[in-house]
Amino acid sequence: MIKITEKHIDVQKVIDTASSLAAGAVDVFIGTVRNNAHGKNVVWLEYEAYETMAVAEIRKIIEDASHRWPLLGWAVSHRIGTLRPGEVSVAVAVSTPHRKDSFEACQYIIDTLKEKVPIWKKEVFEDGEEWVSARPEMAMKA
């Protein structure tokens, strides 16, 4: 299951989708909205996705992961739209026969997602807003 959604992520559903009776391990990563960035309070985050490409890129990541680890099941759900601190922005779950593979596969999927999948977030502060990581640090301070 690959899902890009404006609705609240049901983490249990992500876990259930990834689970398998043949698995001895299910690993889940839950990304949440932090209430601070650059020493300032984050009021909310705006997430945006290039949905068709995001789904295609996540599919490639899963394919790579299934060549490297014996995945029995998997699920990735990413939220878009307006998110408040504490809300779940992303959930990744995988199941494998043994735990080491599930830890590694899950970390690989979330790390690669953050690097390659066309999804963006804008931090909205009390006194302004900023697309995350868009510009080099020097320019941000200028």
């Binding site: 490409m53 995001a54 295609a56 922005s89 979330i110 066309p118 977030k121």
Partner: protein, 80 residues
């Protein structure tokens, strides 16, 4: 002149002034489109990176464009 429709995401949507922009260029490659875009929207050069996707796939600068291609600007991603 060749006309291409560009979809802009994240910060590039703000810099181009909207999601969809039509650009006319003499050339036909992703590199030539990139060149024209940076002349017209110099703030694109301040970004940490800027990829161009063609039909939902990251494209190299020598990729030749068709007028029917779905072209998108991909500034540094920040999902998760």
């Amino acid at each position: 002149m060749n006309k291409y429709k560009i979809r802009a995401f994240g910060i590039t949507k703000d810099l181009l002034g909207g999601r969809d922009t039509v650009i006319e260029i003499h050339g036909t490659t992703v590199g030539e489109l990139r060149q024209e875009l940076s002349e017209r929207f110099p703030e694109l050069l301040d970004l940490k990176s800027l990829f161009i996707a063609v039909n939902n796939d990251y494209a190299d600068d020598d990729r030749v464009l068709k007028s029917t291609d779905e072209i998108a600007l991909i500034p540094p991603v920040s999902g998760g």
